[in-house]
């Protein structure tokens, strides 16, 4: 077995010697063909993004999302000057909607003090897994499981867990609340300004800032949202939302360390409950 692995590794190292102009020779005509096809495509009335939306059954576009993408796409085609910025954001909108699974981290500060962080895993098939951390330790683990229509909340410090059934509506709301793409759509439907290119943890990004984005959940005054997107992948790298809450405290939320299209399996969403934990029924709370 070891020989087989070693020999396979060596065979993979074999290479054919090529001249510097080999790539040009192989790709030259293909790139030229691609350029010609692109020119043909831009003469068509409907933007490509519409074909993607109509064709791809995986994309769930409801209400605001469809309007956002339509507005951004329309700006690209109907404004007097070609607005590369709105086209770029339309592409971001298209890219994130394609992402079925993802993970991210969310940190919230209130008046400058960090309240802890949450790491979230999202899968349309398996549900939502959420871990809240305080002082570096996990304080709560939560599992929203669509197949069973339950949410299981585990509190390690108390060695307790709660299992609560969910209605279809509650399930939908919990999934929506965990989906940062909703916030992205809200940002993009506001009046935004482009930010200078930057570098976040070695990733070159471009960004937008939107004042008073049309938020549905967060009740914040003087809210400012920022979104940074990778130049290479057109996928979000970091999001910020800050503003003043109803009680006057200054809230800032940062969402980052995204892993888009993450490979998540059913076992990632299986709650592991130690045998010495006690179940707390919702009525007994």
């Amino acid at each position: 077995m070891r020989f087989a692995k070693n020999i396979e590794r060596l065979i993979l190292k074999l290479r054919i010697k090529t001249e510097p102009e080999t790539k040009e020779r192989i790709l030259g005509d293909a790139l030229e063909t691609l350029e010609k096809l692109k020119q043909v495509d831009t003469t068509k009335a409907r933007p490509n993004i519409w074909r993607t939306i109509m064709k791809d059954r995986r994309i769930e576009l409801v209400g605001a999302a469809a309007i956002v993408i339509a507005a951004l796409a329309a700006m690209r085609y109907f404004s007097d000057s070609i607005d590369g910025s709105s086209f770029a954001w339309a592409r971001v909108a298209e890219e994130v909607e394609q992402m079925d699974t993802f993970t991210y981290r969310k940190r919230t500060t209130t008046d400058g003090l960090q309240e802890g962080e949450t790491v979230l895993h999202f899968s349309p098939q398996y549900g939502v897994r959420l871990g809240r951390y305080s002082g570096g330790k996990v304080s709560v683990r939560e599992f929203v499981l669509p197949a069973e229509k339950v949410v299981i909340t585990i509190i390690p410090q108390q060695k307790k867990y709660v299992r609560m059934p969910l209605t279809a509506d509650e399930l939908r709301q919990m999934r929506q609340a965990s989906d940062p793409r909703r916030l992205i759509r809200q940002f993009m439907s506001g009046r935004y300004t482009d930010l200078d290119r930057d570098n976040i943890n070695g990733v070159e990004v471009y960004g937008m800032e939107v004042k008073n984005p049309p938020l549905s959940d967060e009740m914040l005054e003087n809210a400012v949202g920022r979104l940074w997107v990778s130049v290479e992948t057109d996928l979000p790298v970091r999001m910020e939302l800050e503003g003043v809450a109803a009680d006057g405290s200054r809230i800032k939320m940062v969402i980052d360390t995204f892993r888009w299209d993450a490979e998540l399996t059913e076992s990632d969403f299986g709650p592991t409950i130690p045998p010495d934990y006690t179940v707390e029924t919702p009525e007994s709370k």
Partner: protein, 180 residues
């Protein structure tokens, strides 16, 4: 690193750098696949040229349902076989499966490497061509045995056997020389 699905979407949008990235990711392996099948690097480069042009021409309808590398490797293998059949029709009597060392007659085409890799290269050339093909299609082409079986019209058991016997033969040729 961009996922293949994103690279395909870039090409669909007409972005040339998406196509270049696909070539940078898989070009060397695809060239190896073509060269093993055709025993000639110049013709192998022609095959890659044709495969990439066809890929672009069909990009609007293309849907990535599996592994991009193995899809392109299949295209390369099909194109190479078509060329070999056309060549053999012209020169009847040639044995398509004439055993040939990967490293000859154009040994200079193999990248200068260490002694161990040179021995592996020579040993590969001593394998029957069907075993060598399966090994290269599987390792460099990233193709599963099921895909190779479908490509060659041979049962998957036979393909797996060819791979196994090929590796065993390499073991007997190289003995304990192969180190990690």
């Amino acid at each position: 690193m961009l996922e293949d699905s994103q690279l395909v979407r870039k090409v669909k949008r007409g972005e040339g750098d998406g196509l270049c990235r696909i070539y940078e990711k898989y070009g060397e392996s695809l060239l190896m696949v073509a060269t093993v099948l055709l025993r000639d690097v110049a013709t192998a480069e022609d095959v890659l040229h044709d495969v990439f042009v066809s890929f672009v021409e069909g990009i609007a309808e293309f849907e990535l349902t599996g592994n991009l590398k193995s899809y392109l490797a299949k295209c390369v293998a099909n194109n190479a076989r078509d060329r070999l059949r056309a060549k053999n029709r012209k020169a009847a009597g040639l044995n398509e499966f004439e055993p040939a060392c990967l490293g000859s007659p154009r040994a200079e085409q193999i990248v200068a490497m260490d002694e161990q890799l040179e021995r592996v290269n020579q040993a590969l050339g001593q394998l029957p061509s069907e075993q060598r093909e399966v090994i290269i299609l599987h390792l460099h082409g990233g193709m599963k045995f099921r895909e190779i079986s479908s490509l060659q019209g041979i049962s998957i058991n036979t393909i797996q056997g060819q791979y196994r016997y090929g590796i065993e033969k390499l073991r007997s040729i190289l003995g304990s020389e192969v180190k990690k």
